[in-house]
Point group: D2
Chain length 306, copies 4
Amino acid sequence: MKKTYQEVFEEVYEEVEYLPKQGTVADYIPELGTVSENRFGVYLASLDGEYAALGDAYEKFSIQSISKVFTFAMAFDVFGGDLWMRVGVEPSGDPFNSLAQLEYENGIPRNPLINAGALVIADFLLSHFEHPREAFLRFLRKLGNNPDIDYNPKVFESEKTFGYRNAALVNLMKSFGNITHPVAEVLDFYFFQCAIEMTCQELATSFLPFANHGVIPHSGERILTASRAKRLNALMLTCGFYDEAGQFSFKVGLPGKSGVGGGIAAVHPDYYAVAVWSPRLNKKGNSYLGMNFLERLTTKTGMSIF
Amino acid sequence: MKKTYQEVFEEVYEEVEYLPKQGTVADYIPELGTVSENRFGVYLASLDGEYAALGDAYEKFSIQSISKVFTFAMAFDVFGGDLWMRVGVEPSGDPFNSLAQLEYENGIPRNPLINAGALVIADFLLSHFEHPREAFLRFLRKLGNNPDIDYNPKVFESEKTFGYRNAALVNLMKSFGNITHPVAEVLDFYFFQCAIEMTCQELATSFLPFANHGVIPHSGERILTASRAKRLNALMLTCGFYDEAGQFSFKVGLPGKSGVGGGIAAVHPDYYAVAVWSPRLNKKGNSYLGMNFLERLTTKTGMSIF
Amino acid sequence: MKKTYQEVFEEVYEEVEYLPKQGTVADYIPELGTVSENRFGVYLASLDGEYAALGDAYEKFSIQSISKVFTFAMAFDVFGGDLWMRVGVEPSGDPFNSLAQLEYENGIPRNPLINAGALVIADFLLSHFEHPREAFLRFLRKLGNNPDIDYNPKVFESEKTFGYRNAALVNLMKSFGNITHPVAEVLDFYFFQCAIEMTCQELATSFLPFANHGVIPHSGERILTASRAKRLNALMLTCGFYDEAGQFSFKVGLPGKSGVGGGIAAVHPDYYAVAVWSPRLNKKGNSYLGMNFLERLTTKTGMSIF
Amino acid sequence: MKKTYQEVFEEVYEEVEYLPKQGTVADYIPELGTVSENRFGVYLASLDGEYAALGDAYEKFSIQSISKVFTFAMAFDVFGGDLWMRVGVEPSGDPFNSLAQLEYENGIPRNPLINAGALVIADFLLSHFEHPREAFLRFLRKLGNNPDIDYNPKVFESEKTFGYRNAALVNLMKSFGNITHPVAEVLDFYFFQCAIEMTCQELATSFLPFANHGVIPHSGERILTASRAKRLNALMLTCGFYDEAGQFSFKVGLPGKSGVGGGIAAVHPDYYAVAVWSPRLNKKGNSYLGMNFLERLTTKTGMSIF
């Protein structure tokens, strides 16, 4: 590639900045609705040390469901294949918070990247760590190379106050025996993880190990075996975008994960990690501009896993 | 009818006592599982003052879902047609605790006689009565003509400890805005109503007003208008037996309601009310022997609403 | 009752004729769409010989799904309980032509009064009668006391040309082994039965045996045992109105069956049969004015099975 | 990679030949059930001209659903994005022949690689080609570099005789207006494509263009633009294995497609195409030994798209 990533970023940005302002900011949690809808940032970190940044790349935002990748990585490292007794690896084909599917399938969530699956992963982590919140923050600060990474207490409280659907999911799974800790403890940790705030720069940096066969580039520390890192990427590709996973794979062609805060993080194995943030969501709950930017990025660079 | 109801009872009993002991006692709430599975009682009260009793007709048992008829009657009297903004009158065609259907139908339960619907009715009652538990007990004691009718605290606690699926239902409805009180308050009242204990004699007596156009025979007090009593009966016929309502209508042909405690109460409008109790349940959660007894009763007397 | 049925008819008609003209004529089969939407007729025949008629009570219209009651009655008489190996007796809780439910339930329709169930009943009749069309016409002419009752060839052809969803139902059931004859033969008979035309007078007359414990009043011939007639009524009450069975039971309180031609036939056991016709359908596919008329009729007479 | 693909093949084969003989040969179409269950063949063709073969690599077998990739490629080339008006790109999360999902989603299939979607693609091809069967054979012979590629008339007849579920799918979609040709014509072409027979060698050769940005290596002819070839691969990854797409992505990590004849074809973009055949299927309808072989192949070579 002759052009630098920064040059490609700027070309793509020129295209997308004139797109109609579609989509709406998530408001199912009031605290999320306070974000200015026109924020936009993107950051790419490559394995050979190059990086590119644009817009609000250094602004904190609520990572929400992107946190599911991190908790899954932690749990996968600790529990390995034991996870698959209680959660699957198939795309759900349904919205992120479907109770119907969970009921038909006897309380076993389709995969760890939908809400029900992440709640089971939270339950796993509660079994292993004495102080799971602290362990999680430590893990994120190590990945993101920044000791300041933290959660937003207001978002946490807001999640807690309006998280009825997640409460329904945990209760349903508990009725099937697929939750071992008290409902309130599982929800508490889950709302905590959703309330984490990171910048595009931190998110991209934190995803780099998944492009690097499980090793943190800046420290050399291995957080997952190469085989598990590969499988995590496979999982993100088929399950990372709720019922729009096919679209993302089809248009962007990279493993990744979105959050209702408007963030998307993705990796090109052996090459780079990228994080984009724009709070307006399409009807499927994924960042409208974020998906658009990534689609053009992989098209312009001709780089995708396919 | 030349034979007395007592004679018919005895004839039917001779037939059913040799039936194979099929079905199992409900154990999803441990406290329910402690009942002896061979208990059997039945009581009929007719509008012209005749009655018949057999077996454990004067033993208390947990009325469970039969309580839904009573809370609905209270709420129907207070709120009338306003109920239909938040709950339907259609058979569910699904098990009593289906979350899938509730999710597809945006948190509006199919009818007031399934769990989700009864939880909405509980929410209504919490809006009207300052002391809903007391009001409910007062209502039952008036209907059953016995000031001792009460709830079983052990069953109540057991429901509370293992009621995850009901918690899932309330949370899901709350996420759709169809529950106005705090989740815990609604569940508390609901578990209370399920934990009420009555005898067959008390249950049959309490159902008599529904056979009597809404008037309590022993006191002359009207608890429902004639039109509403008629509609309650219609509702019991189409929705009183979960996904076995058709079978019951087909074989027995009377409006009624079952509970997982093994009780069934039914009415023949203008004639009688009958309550039967036998704790072994068929796969649909209805008393195996109870349904059998009622089927033979209506066949032998040639009396059904059809 | 002091008033004659004719007097009640006229009172009710005065109320309903000023109702807003709601609903739309069925057009999924083009030939049905040619009917004038303002037609209205109603006829009641009582067991003691009284009758009442209003409007277009002697006009032919397409009975459509009401024919399911007649084919079921024929098959019930021949096959009795053997029917229940291949079709249920539960309300469907779903639209009349749901494939989803049929797939989940392995090709066993919920009841004989939805399309899938009627197709299985058609398959039964094909096994018993050498000339099933002729046998069916003979049966209808006997019930309706009129040798001219026949089918409309244009409607039949129209059904055949646009009956893709029914073709899907038969094929799906055949894939589950629940259809024994060739798909085309089953569909052919089914479209034939739907294309039968009758007047309100004929329909009410034909339903009288169901109010009369299975015996045709005008000839004394028994077409069903008393017990089976009772069960057919139970079935109509819980399953006769697709996913609006609860509403009809709730508001009208009579066993009955509707068709997309705008007809409804219902019975009050031991008293009368009534047929009403008005082609405008509500969203559930039932005659808007027909349901309204019957609701007022039972309210005014204070007569319902509840 | 130092080892040749042939060496890796032999190593993997030594491991899998001792695996328990699990799974059963498809028998929903009698003609498929006649294949010996112990056949096993595999062939890999790399873009740099290397190849590897083992076992029955040159035996013909019924490619069944793998044909969906070829018809989709043809239609994608002709119709481009117009396809997406009538078929999606999302994983179905359901068995390959689900009617329920199709009904809920108004006759729009989830993706072109499930039966319903392939039937819509067949309908597209019927609109474009005067002689679609001949055009399809020409396309396959060009890709597979063999003028003898043909269909098996016995399998075709068998499909036709027992294809009730596919008939249900077409009829349902036609009722929603999503099929433009007569039902019988669409089914006829679909059964024809399923009845195509190819060897592992031919299949791998035919998939090479998908690993080669849309160009046939042996002729230099372009059959798809690079962008569309990329999207086809994305589609195979998320949708190629019915409700086991996640598992395949997770364990194998290559875009591919399976058929109930026991074949699987997959590509590693920029590297190779591989086809494996073993008729015993797991519960999800995918070749038990075939999936196992490919999992070990990518693990041993350390090569996957993730």
